[in-house]
Symmetry: D2
Amino acid sequence: MTLDLEALYIDLHRHPELSFQEHRTAEVIGRHLLDLGIEHTPGVGRTGTVAVVHGAGPGPTVYLRADMDGLPVLEATGLDYASTARGTDPNGVDVPVMHACGHDMHVTALLGALERLSATRGEWNGTVVGVFQPAEEYGAGSRAMLDDGLFDRFPRPDVVLGQHLTPLPAGWIGVRPGTQMAASDGITVTLYGRGGHGSRPHATVDPIVMAAATIMRLQTVVSREVDPRDVAVVTVGAIHAGLKNNIIPTEATLEMSLRYPNDELREHVLDAVTRIVNAEALASGASEPPTIDTLHTLPATINDEDATARTVAAFERAFGADQVIDPGMFTGSEDVSWFARDAGVPLVFWFWGGHDPHAYATAVAAGTVDSDIPTNHSPYFAPVLHPTIERGVEALVVAAREWLA
Amino acid sequence: MTLDLEALYIDLHRHPELSFQEHRTAEVIGRHLLDLGIEHTPGVGRTGTVAVVHGAGPGPTVYLRADMDGLPVLEATGLDYASTARGTDPNGVDVPVMHACGHDMHVTALLGALERLSATRGEWNGTVVGVFQPAEEYGAGSRAMLDDGLFDRFPRPDVVLGQHLTPLPAGWIGVRPGTQMAASDGITVTLYGRGGHGSRPHATVDPIVMAAATIMRLQTVVSREVDPRDVAVVTVGAIHAGLKNNIIPTEATLEMSLRYPNDELREHVLDAVTRIVNAEALASGASEPPTIDTLHTLPATINDEDATARTVAAFERAFGADQVIDPGMFTGSEDVSWFARDAGVPLVFWFWGGHDPHAYATAVAAGTVDSDIPTNHSPYFAPVLHPTIERGVEALVVAAREWLA
Amino acid sequence: MTLDLEALYIDLHRHPELSFQEHRTAEVIGRHLLDLGIEHTPGVGRTGTVAVVHGAGPGPTVYLRADMDGLPVLEATGLDYASTARGTDPNGVDVPVMHACGHDMHVTALLGALERLSATRGEWNGTVVGVFQPAEEYGAGSRAMLDDGLFDRFPRPDVVLGQHLTPLPAGWIGVRPGTQMAASDGITVTLYGRGGHGSRPHATVDPIVMAAATIMRLQTVVSREVDPRDVAVVTVGAIHAGLKNNIIPTEATLEMSLRYPNDELREHVLDAVTRIVNAEALASGASEPPTIDTLHTLPATINDEDATARTVAAFERAFGADQVIDPGMFTGSEDVSWFARDAGVPLVFWFWGGHDPHAYATAVAAGTVDSDIPTNHSPYFAPVLHPTIERGVEALVVAAREWLA
Amino acid sequence: MTLDLEALYIDLHRHPELSFQEHRTAEVIGRHLLDLGIEHTPGVGRTGTVAVVHGAGPGPTVYLRADMDGLPVLEATGLDYASTARGTDPNGVDVPVMHACGHDMHVTALLGALERLSATRGEWNGTVVGVFQPAEEYGAGSRAMLDDGLFDRFPRPDVVLGQHLTPLPAGWIGVRPGTQMAASDGITVTLYGRGGHGSRPHATVDPIVMAAATIMRLQTVVSREVDPRDVAVVTVGAIHAGLKNNIIPTEATLEMSLRYPNDELREHVLDAVTRIVNAEALASGASEPPTIDTLHTLPATINDEDATARTVAAFERAFGADQVIDPGMFTGSEDVSWFARDAGVPLVFWFWGGHDPHAYATAVAAGTVDSDIPTNHSPYFAPVLHPTIERGVEALVVAAREWLA
């Protein structure tokens, strides 16, 4: 029997799950692998699944990785198969859930690739390990699988391959040697004031004003403290303080995402953020200093120069040179690196396009790419189904076969 | 039988309930009124209760009002009888609940006063109406009772009396003729940006930066636009935006409390807030203007000059002139006014102290009243039981008898 | 001969001089006193002048004080006799100069009053000392006169009287017992960054961004840290940094004016300003802390209760009770207090109106007083000549005679 | 006779002059060219000088350009030959002047190169035009020379060569093909408030708070609106408002420098700056919108790919490949481009180092380059004399001879 990848994708899209809660997703993956007769192990790194396909003879082990989790975003695409799912986030809050980052497409493409490689196993040597990884959005899933004995329980990789959907035109592949994606830290900053009645601000230390001043000051890290030629991002993605308009609360919480291409700039930005957060608490007359907790630390995603050149050549042969571009460094971050870093082997991680090519060309002509094309994490993120699905499958197969030949 | 007011207070303190959810509180009130043989009606204005006591003969009708609701505050007093209650706020969020504003003491004192007046009903003429009002913290409970036919179903007042616990020394009464408490608006401001991935701020309109800039600018309403000799407060009591550190959300919500002594300044402040909120959205390049919704509008609490003079004289006779002070205008607000405004009758609303007199005197001497004495709405708000309970009962009885004599 | 007060006023208005540079003004004063045959001493406290008139017999000594200096404001009144004067400020900068605070009217009225009192010296007992004080705008002139031996070289006062022009309707007198004007500090804050090329912000510590963040934070002193019922002002009246758009400068200077009704709030505000200024420098990563220099410290202007009551009674008899109002506390400040404080005698300091009464009434009716009526220090400040001159003379004579009778 | 270049440099360093005021500098240049017997014309483009040297026979015309002007910076190098010069800036303000950008070294090197080329004129063909350009710091000098008929009165260039001193180690040359320096706009933003007394902020619209809020908001252009991978700078290099601490002024002026690598980003940043400036005025309730005036617009400095490759090859042969680096794009801007753009010929513009190599290496090792090495426009900018002077001369000669051979 053959996988109906379109139906599979739509099913996954309709049922996104938050990080480390990908139970239904894992079940769907397991059911299809079973149908395909592919050996697999669920529950690796909590909700991850590992599939193993052996070729005709001995040869290198190639990891193909797809992440599985959705995001707390309220889908606004208007698609027939739009998600209406809800989930419970780590704070116990009920939130909407959406595959706003394309991980549904990642899973679909990896299942399709495993089907193809399994069907052609007589043609190649070596081993393919399909890594269905949970909780990429928490930057925690790859570590969870590694800490769960991935390399002990399954073959160690000789190369790690992975791909990510992006709003390039469908059919395109974007990949570059060296730093492909930024390093990133997720931090939680808690500011402590002194609460009281909203009508008596003088008897309080207002943590909301403290937070506002801090956020405005944090803008100066990028605008004044980072070399304009360097790439850094300081985003406050969430702020929460207070329960009621007339009670000045005792604290405010900022959830921040920091991004940089290297360790030197990472240290510089973290120092500046720490300095500002502490000084703004002093300016408010806070009696307790803020706390800064690290949620996750992601290394830069660095593509091996040689392995990337080899992969690019294979892509160009398969898809035509005009479909393979260098997309520049992305400021987003990934935890795929850990598989390659821990194993000490090359990584090649590429992007593939999922946006309607005609709409993309129109936006380029109008100079409206940034405003018109929904990016990953947008509530409007909506890849076209074809040829996105096909190209995702092909890219994995083409790249894998480069090592398995 | 006699009420054990201390036990009653402790029980109420342990079981605070959010606005319009005062079901257990109403049940406790009802049970005690039943025990005392006082005629009463529950469910007036959703969770309010009205008690009526007739004197020996015809005479004026005196309203004695106590509000019932707690606040979404996590109690930090360390008291044996501290609240550990939880509730669900109007947004469906699970929150801690605390009697951080002393309404438990208000209810206790009113029950005590009704007991006393009922026991002495042979000594006075007229009618006492005990108004146990819900949802004062939402500024909505008095209107709910009035809209539920209060004046049709029960005797209309000739005077409205009420009292509020405050961190003055226990035993003291504070009351002034004219404006005793400020007018107030509760508003919700929603700022609309454009969401996206935390690593791609340029493809978004960041509503959190918009909110921070707005909050900083709102400070200038009081610092630059209000005559320094006028009294105005612009508090942002809550801000909520975003679910995750690496997603820039689409909107941010500010819960604000605005306070002023008169309509002219109210208009001036509301205009300035509106102007700033809109301009800061423009500065961010927002494509959609903010929305500003009014949660509640509270009038100034204005004590009738003559009725207040009469009440003050009665208090001075009963408690000694040194225990009765003019506390100045308070910037807090109340919805007690509506009872008197709708009836077109005088209001007298006073404060009574609940703080340990020795600790208070020490703080005064040290110049640390503002920082050391927990105010209403603080998680440390903790009145001493005695003579606070007794003085609350006496004050209501003394004031009521002034009209009932 | 008789003074032509209108011509005198117009001449003074055309020729304003900055603080401690009132040479021409002193010369005009001296010439007229000479013409009037009044004994006088120039050069007291640099550019001040003291005139002494003895009555028929012994009696109390009454100080009548007028300040003399103009302001660095570019007159925009459009008057025929508008100033086109220039001056050199303490930093050596060439600036426009204008009598934007009415000190020309103060001098005119005092000369008129001395003429009148001198002409009637047979009718009263005691001594009148006319104090033409320089440099009120620097808060330095009264101290300069006192430090120059005022009380040793001339009779000590038994009462100090003074007046100030204000945009009340011409003819009105405004005076209140107790705190009439605020205490004030003038401070200079210098923020130290690290300069460099405008294209390389990361190699600098930008003092202009530091200044902007500081100014925004300073708004929170009044908006969040002062009891809304208290009166306080934190104004940054001048900021200067940088010489060129593409050089990031090494420092920024803020000239600030702080105002408060009492010493307790003064200390609170100064502490908050100091805390914020230092913390914002830390937030910027400045290697050197800011410096805060005090330009002048002015005490609150507190009218003696009894002496004020006596003066008000005299005014009401002379001008009618409807022309004498309590204008409330003013947030402006004065250095006239030092004369009374040093002598340990009562002070009475009042305001008199100079605005066209019809225009004033129109603005009151329209609710546009704050926006339509130019205040002291405005480039549009322009008193009507009559009856402003006459009432200024009369007020001084009436008040003085109350003690000299 | 031979030029004493060290003495010449020290003399120029001691006597810096502001833009378009380089009279003494022009005189020094003229005197030395006269001594060298080189044909030259002063007063081209106000204070510029053009020197022409013909080779042995016909050939291409090579422009060698040096800019001449100093900056309003107070020298803090502590050098024996530090500048103590003063000048009058365009606003009539007396300011310190310093060669803080190395233009004294540029002039010295060009004179040295002209001497060398003149002495060897038998060895090469073509024409060398030495362009001593004024007012580079105003971005106005090259246009002034072109508008004064440069191409009509002197030979048109076939290639334009120029160089700039920079804090690389002395001996090094830094040059890259393509965009070498950013495009830049210098703009003046004037914000209009409403003035008044510092004690009555409510009767004013405070332009200093408006300016502070604007500056804080402008940080978000780079931090939030520009792709993190793009290069943009938004610097406020000067702010001036107010004359006195207790007068709220009527306006505030910001001098800004904006930088970007291309026209698309230029438009984006200018739009964002304009939007923010206008919106912040609205937030303040200003009755008059701000004005934005353009001081100068500088195009990107784009090195011709082929001509740069040829020049780099010549440098590597002459100085060794290890002394010639690609320094990356600089965010600073230049007006040298206009010479090449107007003529439609290639430009090669390089940097040469002037910092002590040992100190530089130490700072690199310590990771303190950004903080320890004074950049152009710093009051500490102080090139070592040798081999900076020699390398500056050689670089011009080597590059010129590449075309003149």
